[in-house]
Symmetry: C2
């Protein structure tokens, strides 16, 4: 029997990125499509040692059922880490460990979103979370961005018009844009949230990966009224495969998310929480992050250099960190159609259209620079440049 | 700002069991309330060794993003295990690793349930999953059980009356009842599902814990039409804290659940999947299960013996395995009210009312026998018996 599936799946066909992953999984394909950390960045030896150690120290508790609220030592070290790092006020806010920040976004939608509620997003935005929001039958309204992030005038106009329940935003090294929201705009968003009464979901998986320029405070750090929920992750600085993220928000909201989490997965695996706990307690993160940044910044520069050979009139972001560069080809070049040609030539990217709430923009694409080595980036970028030029009259 | 929460939370206040857990968390309380494995049953030394080993062997892949469909070696070993153990037909069914079987139930509801859809359950049933179903705004209809499980005549009447989308059932060593669905009823349920076109969610976390009597085939093993989705777990035989479960169902249904999982947590932690994979590949489960059963069967017998001292007219189930005994006190004794007295006397259970879709039955309670040692069971049961007798005129 093939049953009638729930209405929430109407128009949902699975994440385009993950389908592309399968397409390019065969050996020999150079992929700029994923959002994977460099294999070199994954501290496997260290995690192996730590895993054995935490089970030796606290194995019975780690293997037993845990609290939905989190593995107690991790909840403590994480809270301290967040107070020091972001100056979050944890007297009016709670921290909830989640199974990746993917789950944080899911739980926030579960807590807040009724079918038809409006969520405003950057346009383009992270397609994984677009699917999450759509599975809650939210109506997504995209607001355009420039080099300083979401454009505030357009955001305010959209807020007035659509009365959103939530703004979903990736302020630092945005996915897919690579851009960073300016300080002034961060403050303005907090003021708008307070004035118009909506929740800001601040998704910040890349904030630690800054190669140049000055760090900016989180949007959450300006929040005095509990309108901002911060979504964090250790996926980009320790390991995505361990699925450890967290959310920080006003007590009532996080309690609702905790009830939601009881029936989502009861709790995040104690073992992976305990491993991240040790990274925090033993101050292992700074060294890791320094090494990752050194590696990634050279890779990004290599890719930026290679972009100079793309067709005349190509524009692209020049990020100060993160994992992605977003490219606009000259009008008429169709990056969605040309992906097939690229894959036939053993190189891949994600067409930009998938990141827009309303599709279109077939001349855009997202490039990831973290998961390939320098020579591979040069080879792959040369291939893509050639394909695009061939389809642009050789220019 | 305290936002308006989503309608799905109307009437949801968090799992009663988990609130009771907090109440009794202080040291010195004897708890028959949880559903925790015995600490002795948790193979911490083995898991420590295996964790180090799998990271040594495949650390880069384990730490990297994984496929939503599962860690490939685990998907393979799990499929072989299920073919051998339950003779599942995996040409028309897919296996999906989940973050505990809790997530399996959540994903199945996500795939199938629109607000107002009817789910039939055993009455009483597992309250954690009652909350899961209610968060999808399902209407729950409970059908009474006897010593052979759900009563088929009443089930068929409810099916005709309510036209359910799903039947949720725990056929073996039911939670909270401890009873096991007879072979004849298993076959009949498959026939009813086919005739009336609903999905059966077969939740089987306790099936391996049989202390006496003969093993029965799963409901799923009789399913030729794809109406049955099987939810399995390693929580009760390896570790609940690792959060590794799985679901087995008709291809189309599992693909829909996989899309749902993309935005629930992207994938289950590779590390915990890899650890369970080794337990399967190295045939470590049988020994573990034998030891657990030996321990639990003595504990259950101790608890059953102690129940003879409960008030006159007390009835209780006599399970052949699992983790729970369900108790009906004489009418007039209120187990919900008396929990406070019990906790004041440092002993706890779960009032049975929380397991009924329509509440009531205040004279019932659930007792867990796995998470206390023999002497503690004797001491705690004597205390409860005394409290109940004191409130029953000394009888």
């Amino acid at each position: 029997m093939i049953p009638n599936f729930a209405d929430r799946f109407d128009g949902i066909s699975g994440s385009a990125i993950r389908e592309i992953f399968k397409l390019i999984a065969r050996p020999g394909v150079i992929s700029f499509a994923g959002g994977n950390p460099s294999p070199k960045a994954l501290p496997d030896d260290l995690v192996g040692e730590i895993a054995a150690k935490v089970i030796k120290e606290d194995g019975k508790r780690i293997l037993q059922y845990g609290a939905t609220e989190g593995y107690p030592p991790f909840l403590e070290s994480l809270s301290n880490y967040l107070k020091n790092k972001h100056a979050f006020d944890l007297s009016n806010n709670l921290v909830l460990p989640t199974t990746g920040s993917t789950q944080g976004m899911d739980l926030l939608c579960k807590a807040l979103i009724n079918p038809g509620d409006v969520i405003i997003t950057e346009n383009p935005t992270f397609l994984g979370n677009m699917q999450a929001m759509r599975l809650y039958q939210a109506k997504l309204v995209g607001v355009d961005c420039d080099n300083d992030g979401i454009i505030i005038d357009e955001l305010e106009a959209a807020i007035k018009k659509y009365k959103p329940k939530m703004l979903y935003i990736i302020p630092t090294f945005q996915n897919p844009g690579g851009t960073t929201l300016s300080l002034e705009r961060r403050k303005k968003i907090v003021a708008l949230a307070e004035e118009y009464g909506f929740i800001v979901a601040e998704d910040d998986p890349y904030g630690d990966l800054r190669f140049s320029g000055e760090s900016l405070p989180t949007i959450k750090s300006f929040d005095k009224t509990g309108n901002v929920v911060y979504l964090g992750s250790f996926s980009k600085i320790i390991s995505p495969g361990m699925r450890v993220g967290y959310m920080v928000g006003e007590n009532t909201i996080i309690r609702k998310c905790t009830i939601g989490k009881q029936s989502s997965d009861l709790h995040t695996a104690n073992l992976t929480q305990a491993i991240v706990d040790k990274f925090l307690r033993e101050n292992l993160l700074d060294d890791l992050i320094e090494k990752i940044k050194e590696d990634y910044s050279i890779k990004m520069q290599t890719m930026l250099d290679a972009l100079k050979d793309f067709p005349e009139g190509t524009k692209y972001t020049k990020p100060e960190g993160g994992m992605f560069i977003f490219v606009k080809l000259p009008q008429g070049l169709n990056a969605t159609e040309l992906l097939n040609t690229a894959v036939s030539n053993n190189v891949a990217y994600v067409p930009g259209t998938h990141f827009y709430t309303d599709g279109g923009r077939e001349n855009t694409l997202r490039l990831n620079f973290t998961n390939s080595d320098i020579d591979t980036i040069k080879t792959g970028m040369a291939k893509i440049a050639e394909i695009f030029k061939d389809n642009n009259g050789g220019k």
